[in-house]
């Protein structure tokens, strides 16, 4: 009985969905799925190892998780039609802070908490300067990117900070659930939490509203500054988390450890279907973009494609995937 009711609910939901979406909308919704399926089909056909549990979980998922955190982080400012360019530098900064707190001050687990809070703090700083001083987020975070990565270099003198703490390493690579590395569990748990944050909370709702039309939200009495700052706090916190987990995984931190994550995360966000013009998409979709990049990188490694060539192919796939997932009808002018 209960089964049939929920079955009906699904049918209702699909019916309502189709009523309100045009054929192009549906194609765009499915675009990143299609992309992922195509890539997986190609690699399944060309490589024996690709479609094995060990490869999919141990390599594809495991290697995508840090990017997932950073991409989830960047989704919130982008949904609000802002952008956080400092994500990768926050990963580096909180990573080296964590490593130094473990190494030099022996803080252990507490170091991890402080590393995350450092991310929250610099996110708050970004948000306050952006919302209160009314400086475009692009410029605020372009500047803070430099400040944060410079600080990471200054703290470490440019060297990496290794440490010896097997217990901390287990947080990332241990297997509390058999055959599933903890890092993957962390990633999926936060994926669900962050998706709920966007879908079910006032903060999430106002994030979409701000992205579509801030003036309308303002005129409706929404405390817009609070939610604009909130997006950067969420972004900073998730990047802090990414930095801490990456540090735990490799039991070392370098001031350049976040390198490459900024562009990859923006590509993942947009491929997932969150437009840079704000208001549409969401973190629940960002994971698709992350997996496209993860599957592609892994597949190309398996096929033994040279890493310089990989970079070129990745670029083409990003452009193609964005073309599939973007609703150009709703954008007046593409710039």
């Amino acid at each position: 009985m209960a089964g049939s009711t929920s079955g009906n609910a699904v049918v209702d939901w699909i019916g309502q969905y189709r009523e309100n979406r045009s054929a192009t909308d549906i194609l765009i919704d499915l675009g990143p799925f299609l992309m992922l399926l195509i890539l997986m089909a190609i690699f399944t056909a060309t490589s024996d190892v690709f479609l094995t549990y060990d490869n999919l979980v141990g390599n594809v998922m495991m290697n995508s998780m840090i990017l997932l955190f950073v991409a989830l982080a960047g989704t919130f400012p982008i949904l609000q039609q802002s952008i956080d360019l400092s994500v990768a530098s926050i990963v580096s900064l909180s990573g080296v802070l964590t490593a130094m707190l473990i190494n030099d001050f022996n803080l252990g687990i507490l170091a991890l908490v402080l590393g995350i809070l450092a991310g929250t703090g610099v996110g708050l700083l970004n948000g306050v300067v952006f919302a209160k001083a009314k400086i475009p987020s692009f410029l605020v975070t372009l500047g803070s990117l430099s400040v944060f990565s410079g600080s990471a270099l200054l703290l470490t003198g440019g060297y990496s900070v290794p440490f010896n703490a097997p217990a901390i390493r287990q947080i990332a690579i241990g297997q509390t659930i058999p055959n599933v590395p903890n890092l993957v569990v962390w990633g999926l748990v936060f994926y669900v939490l962050v998706s709920l944050l966007a879908w079910k909370t006032t903060f999430g709702r106002y994030t979409y509203a701000l992205g579509e039309n801030e003036r309308v939200a303002d005129f409706s009495g929404v405390k817009v500054d609070r939610y604009k700052i909130g997006a950067f706090v969420v972004s900073g916190t998730l990047c802090g988390l990414a930095g801490v987990l990456l540090t735990a995984r490799i039991t070392s931190a370098t001031p350049g450890m976040g390198q490459g994550l900024l562009l990859q995360s923006i590509a993942a966000i947009v491929m997932g279907g969150t437009a840079l013009t704000g208001g549409v998409g969401g973190p629940h979709r960002t994971i698709l973009g992350v997996l496209v990049i993860g599957v592609l990188t892994n597949g190309m490694n398996l096929l033994g494609i040279q890493s310089f060539v990989q970079e070129i192919i990745l670029g083409f796939v990003v452009i193609f995937a964005v073309a599939l997932s973007m609703d150009r009808d709703k954008i007046d002018v593409v710039k």
């Binding site: 045009s22 006032t202 979409y208 509203a209 309308v216």
Partner: protein, 530 residues
């Protein structure tokens, strides 16, 4: 009334067939779930001005978009000079001599007048990629001289007045269709936003240009349509329901055809107007000033009272509304709501104190067009415990959204304000202007409001929807809500208000009583406005 004019009239109206410049037959256009145009027949003869009227969502814009090549019809044929043509895009339309002048004039502000005039033809005016500006200026001036339009083409369009931009857009319609000697020009609500002078000038130009062009004139202002048109088509629900010569038309007849029924007596429901003697003061404004906008404005509005504010453009009435709603910060004076002084300059502070705001620009200030109706309705009420009594709160945890209760709230607005929408999940862009406006009103009523500030609440919505908005406002007044009712339309202002504050050059020069049965006349008010 039958949709066709009878044969005698038709002959008289049409004259010889050869003069038919442009004709469409059995046009049908469908969008997802909506038939926007159904079996529309329409023609335009050389030198004619044809009026096109209808409520919001009746299909006027869709028809113009089909004619100008922005949309393609699903069925039906288009004839230009008796020959069937297919119009694939706007450029194609201009090749066939059809050009559209949009409400938001399609000019680029940071270019000069003559550059705008020939924007599409730059390749024809350049040698090896270098633009021949002198030739542009010369030929631009020639075009203006032929059309009898007076503009400074050297100026950047950003420095043009609204009316000048419109004249430039009309001249541009001629340059776009330069290869036909008699273009068809579609004017989409050209008088919206024009002052009296600009309107007169526009009508003079249209009259003079009959030798050069034919016009389709779309407007919500029926008196204007009657003044300028030779023939009038009335659209309702995507069909031509009436087609008549201007001699046979009257505002009443047009309104009836548009709405499909007779407008009920007491349009403004004046008999419902509440007396407010002895009622408590809901909002009190003292010595409010904003530099460059208004000076030393003071008034009180009582519970259940509708306080009208009028004035010409630039009198400061809209700015006053923006300060009362918290959008703008005043330079002096104070606002008290329910006896307590509220620090101005923030919308959310005003909202928290029970002041709702219906802004003037519905689309850019009032609605999230691509979000569902449900989301628009709950927007001001999320995460607050100030939700109005009759709707349940949105959940016990303020930062979590209870979707069931949100649905209930949205359904409530749809029922109570009679919003026509496919469902509460429909994005607002799928609704007509009038229904969008009801949503803007409705979302403001989901929180405890004691004061509602409205700036031209019925702007750009049709007769039927207006009547419903008036009904809703009367009901709100009955519930004790005080309203600041800023309006450009005097009959509406007079009909709805208990008292009327007249603004002139930033000062509130008079406050007139407007009790039922003893309303001031339009001329009495105009005298004080200017």
């Amino acid at each position: 009334m039958s949709a066709d004019i009878d044969t005698a009239d038709r002959d008289a109206a049409e004259g010889p067939d050869s003069s038919v410049r442009f004709r469409v037959e059995n046009i049908r256009k469908e969008f997802t779930n909506v038939v926007a145009l159904d079996d529309v027949n329409f023609e335009l003869r050389t030198g004619e001005v044809v009026g096109l009227v209808g409520e919001n969502g009746a299909g006027k814009s869709t028809l113009l978009n089909v004619l100008s090549g922005i949309y393609q019809q699903d069925q039906g044929r288009i004839y230009v000079d008796g020959e069937e043509v297919t119009i694939t895009d706007p450029l194609d339309a201009s090749r066939h001599g059809i050009a559209i002048v949009h409400q938001e004039h399609n000019v680029i502000p940071n270019l000069s007048g003559y550059e705008n005039l020939f924007l599409e033809q730059f390749p024809d005016y350049s040698t090896a990629g270098v633009l021949d500006s002198n030739r542009l200026k010369r030929e631009g001036q020639d075009v203006l001289d032929t059309l009898g339009i007076d503009l400074d083409l050297e100026k950047r369009v950003a420095n043009y007045s609204f009316s000048d931009r419109q004249m430039l857009s009309i001249a541009k319609a001629f340059t776009e269709t330069v290869h036909t000697d008699h273009p068809v020009i579609l004017l989409d609500e050209p008088t919206a936003g024009l002052e009296e002078d600009g309107r007169d000038l526009l009508f003079d130009r249209i009259d003079d240009l009959r030798d050069h062009a034919s016009f389709v004139f779309v407007s919500h202002e029926l008196d204007e349509v009657l003044e300028i048109s030779d023939r009038i088509y009335v659209l309702r629900d995507g069909e031509v329901v009436d087609h008549l010569l201007v001699e046979d038309a009257s505002e009443d007849r047009l309104q009836q055809s548009m709405v499909g029924r007779e407008i009920s007596e007491g349009y403004y429901q004046v008999s419902e107007q509440r007396g407010v003697t002895g009622a408590d003061t809901a909002i009190s404004v003292s010595n409010l000033s904003m530099d460059g906008a208004f000076e030393d404005v003071s008034f009180d509005v009582h519970e259940g009272e509708i306080f009208g504010i009028c004035g010409v453009m630039g009198s400061g009435k809209s700015e006053l509304g923006r300060v009362l709603s918290g959008v703008d910060d005043p330079d002096g004076g104070s606002i008290a709501v329910g006896g307590e002084t509220v620090e101005p300059g923030s919308v959310h502070r005003m909202v928290d104190n029970g002041v709702g705001y219906v802004p003037k620009e519905r689309q850019s200030e009032g609605t999230l067009l691509y979000q569902p109706l449900r989301v628009n309705v709950s927007l001001p009420s999320l995460g607050t415990d100030l939700v109005a009594d009759e709707v349940p709160g949105l959940g016990s945890v303020p930062w979590l959204i209870d979707f069931d209760k949100e649905d209930e709230m949205a359904e409530g607005v749809v029922d109570r304000l009679n919003v026509k929408t496919p469902s509460i999940e429909s994005p607002l862009i799928q609704l007509s202007g009038g229904n969008q406006q009801k949503v803007v009103l409705g979302k403001n009523l989901q929180r405890e409001v004691s004061v509602l500030v409205m700036d031209n609440v019925t702007r750009g919505i049709d007769v039927g929807a207006k009547e419903e908005v008036y009904r809703i406002l009367r009901q709100l007044a009955n519930d004790g809500v005080a309203m600041v009712f800023i309006a450009d339309e005097l009959p509406e202002l007079i009909g709805m208000s208990n008292r009327i504050g007249v603004m002139h050059e930033g000062e509130m020069v008079d406050i007139l009583d407007a009790p039922p049965g003893d309303k001031p006349t339009e001329s009495e008010i105009i005298k004080e406005m200017i």
